[in-house]
Symmetry: C2
Subunit: 358 residues, 2 copies
C-alpha cells in the first residue's frame, strides 16, 4: 500500500488506521453477515455506530445537553440556506462577516431568505484575512452573527471570535476539531465532513436546541432542524457509510488525543510558514496574523512557475497542491489526518525547487 501525501482541500486525507478498519469490516461488519452499508439504519449494528458518532462528538466538543448533534445531507452548501430559513425569522436581521469565498456564499444564500447586514467585509482583500473585532458594525437586534472560522480557499482564519450578545453561527468546515473551541457562545456550528471529519456526503450540525424552535412550521420538513432534533438525526435514511467513517475518525481523534493533534497541527503549519518566509521566492497569501493552520496558501513569481511546482511536487509524491481554481496559487491543506512527515517532505521539496528555479 503506497500512500501518497495528499494535500487536497477536501475530500481530504483520512487516517490510515480508519481506512484499514473500514477495509477489514467491509464485507462482513462484525460478523453480521453484511457490510455496514447494507445494515438497516434502524437495526442494532448501525444504531451502535450512530450512537457512538454522537457520543464522540459530544465528548470532543464538550457539549452540554442544550445542544443537539445532527448529521445532515447537502454539505455546508445546504446549511448556507438552512441557517437563515430556520433562524432568520420574520422581520429580524442577521449579521454576517465576509472573510472570503465561503462567507460570501453564506451571505448570498441568507439574502434570499431575509435581511442581512454585512458587519464587516474584507472578502476581496489581498493579502487575505478575516475581519478585526473593531471593524464589526453590528445590528442592534440581530438574530445571530455568522462567521466562517477558516476560509479554505484563501487560507485565513479567525484566531478568536467576537464577543457579542447574540448567538454566533459558524461554518467550521475546514478547522473543526483541529484546535481548542469553547462552544458556549455558539448557537449553531456546521461543518462539511470532507475535510477534518470523514468522507464527503454529510454536514455535522451542532445546534442549541432552543434555537430550532424559531423555525416556521411551513418550512419543508427536511429543512427544519426541529425535525432532525426530534428524530435523533434519523428522520429519514441517513448517509450511513459517511457516519460510520466519521465515527471511526472521531474514535481516532480521541485515541490520538485532541491536545496532541492540536500541537501537531500548529507545528506542521509553523514549519511550512517558516519555509515560506525564509525567502522572497515564496509569498504567503494570508496576512501573517490571520494565517490558517489548516490551509497554507502561497504564490510563486508567476502562474507558469506555480504550474511547474505542482507538477514536480506530484512527481515527488506530493499531491493536491494546486490552489482553488477561483484564485490560483499553491495551497497545502494539512488537516488533522495529514502526517507531519508529509510537511517535512514538502519543505524539502520547496528548498530544492527554489534552488533549481530561484
Amino acid at each position: 500500500m503506497a500512500r501518497i501525501y495528499n494535500f487536497s482541500a477536501g475530500p481530504a486525507v483520512l487516517p490510515e488506521e480508519v481506512l484499514e478498519e473500514a477495509r477489514t469490516q467491509l464485507p462482513d461488519y462484525h460478523g453480521s453477515g453484511m457490510s455496514i452499508m447494507e445494515c438497516s439504519h434502524r437495526g442494532r449494528d448501525f444504531a451502535a455506530v450512530h450512537a457512538e458518532a454522537i457520543a464522540n462528538t459530544r465528548k470532543l466538543l464538550k457539549l452540554s445537553d442544550d445542544y443537539a448533534v445532527l448529521f445532515l445531507q447537502g454539505g455546508a452548501s445546504l446549511q448556507f440556506a438552512m441557517v437563515p430559513m430556520n433562524l432568520l425569522t420574520d422581520g429580524a436581521v442577521a449579521d454576517y462577516t465576509n472573510s472570503g469565498s465561503w462567507a460570501a456564499k453564506a451571505i448570498k444564500e441568507a439574502r434570499k431568505i431575509g435581511q442581512v447586514n454585512v458587519a464587516a467585509d474584507c472578502g476581496k482583500e489581498i493579502p487575505t484575512r478575516v475581519p478585526r473585532m473593531d471593524e464589526l458594525q453590528l445590528s442592534a437586534n440581530a438574530a445571530y452573527l455568522h462567521v466562517t472560522s477558516n476560509e479554505t480557499i484563501s487560507g485565513a482564519r479567525w484566531n478568536s471570535y467576537p464577543q457579542v450578545d447574540v448567538p454566533l453561527v459558524a461554518d467550521m468546515s475546514s478547522d473543526i476539531l483541529s484546535r481548542p473551541l469553547d462552544v458556549e457562545p455558539f448557537g449553531l456550528i456546521y461543518a462539511g465532513a470532507q475535510k477534518n471529519l470523514g468522507p464527503a456526503g454529510m454536514a455535522l450540525v451542532v445546534i442549541r436546541k432552543d434555537l430550532a424552535e424559531k423555525a416556521p412550521e411551513t418550512l419543508p420538513t427536511m429543512l427544519q432542524y426541529r425535525t432532525h432534533i426530534e428524530n435523533d438525526s434519523l428522520y429519514n435514511t441517513p448517509p450511513c457509510w459517511t457516519i460510520y467513517i466519521y465515527m471511526l475518525v472521531t474514535r481516532w481523534i480521541m485515541k490520538q488525543g485532541q491536545e496532541k493533534l492540536y500541537r501537531q497541527n500548529v507545528e506542521k503549519a509553523a514549519g511550512l510558514y517558516e519555509r515560506i518566509d525564509r525567502s522572497a521566492f515564496y509569498r504567503g497569501t494570508a496576512l501573517p496574523e490571520f494565517r490558517s493552520d489548516m490551509n497554507v496558501t502561497f504564490r510563486l513569481a508567476d502562474e507558469e512557475l506555480e504550474a511547474l511546482f505542482v507538477k514536480e511536487a506530484l512527481a515527488e509524491g506530493l499531491s493536491g497542491l494546486k490552489g482553488h481554481r477561483s484564485v490560483g496559487g499553491i495551497r497545502a491543506s494539512i488537516y488533522n489526518a495529514f502526517p507531519p512527515e508529509g510537511v517535512e517532505k514538502l519543505v524539502d521539496f520547496m528548498d530544492d525547487f527554489e534552488a533549481r528555479h530561484g
Copy 2:
C-alpha cells in the same frame, strides 16, 4: 465471508462483486496512493467515476439529451420538497396520487409549497393497492402528475402509468432499474439510492432539462435543479463514495443484463407469492393485481406469531423480514441484488414454519 440473506427494505443488500471491488480498491484506488474517499471531487480519478455513473444511467434508462442525470443529497425525502419548489410555480396546481405512506409524505410536502389536488386516494386501504386509471380525477391544467411507482411499505405498485398530457413525476426509490421503463412520459424521476442503486446518502434524479427552468431564482441555490444541471451535478462536493458504489452497481447491472435481472426479479417474487397463496396460513397484504416484485408483504394470524417468524427466520440466516414499524407484518424486500437462493430458502422456511405452527 459468511453472507446472510438480507431482506432489508433499505439500506439493502449490495452485489457481492461490488463489495469485493470496493474492498480491493479501498486503501489505494487504482494506484493513486489514496482511497476514492480521499480523491478530490474535481480530480481525474473521481471525474472518471462520476462520468461513468452518469453514462451508465443514461444507457440503462435510455435517456435522450433532453434529460439530465443528477446525484443529490437528502434522499427521496428532500425531493418531496424540491419537486414542488421547482415545478409547482405560481398559481399552478399539481396532481398527486395517494397510494400509501410514501405518496402521503410527498403530498404533505407539496401542500407546504403550493396547491395540490389528490387525484385518487387509496392510501389507507387494506389490502393495499395503487389507484386504478379510471379513478383519477385530474386537474384541468396541472403542472405535473405525481406517482409513487412502488410503495416500499405496503408492497403495492403501479403496473403501468397513467397516460396524461402533463409530465409524470415519480418517486421510484424502490423499483428503479428493476423492470422495463419508458422514461419519455416522465418529466422527473427520483430515487433514494439505498434500495436498488447503492448505499444510503444520495438520490438519483433524472429530469427533463426544460422543466428546471420554471424554478424561481429566489429559491436557495442548492434547492434549484437548475444549479445542479448547470454544474453537471458537481456544484458542491458530492457524496463521492455513494456515487462510486452506485457506479459499480450500475456496471454490475449492465454485466448481468437488464432483461435477465428483470426476469429473475419476476421469478423471485412469483415464487414467494405462490408460497403465500398456497395456504391460508400466510395472507398477502397487497391486492394480487398490484403486488410488488420488490417488497413482498404478508401477515400471519397474529403479531405474536409474526414476531416468532422473524426471530426463527433470523436464526436460519434470513434477516430483515420484519415489516415497517408503522404497519407491522412481514416484508421480504428482494431487490436486484437479492439472490434467488435466498428466496428459495425463505420459501422452505415458510413451509417448515407453517408445518410447525399451522
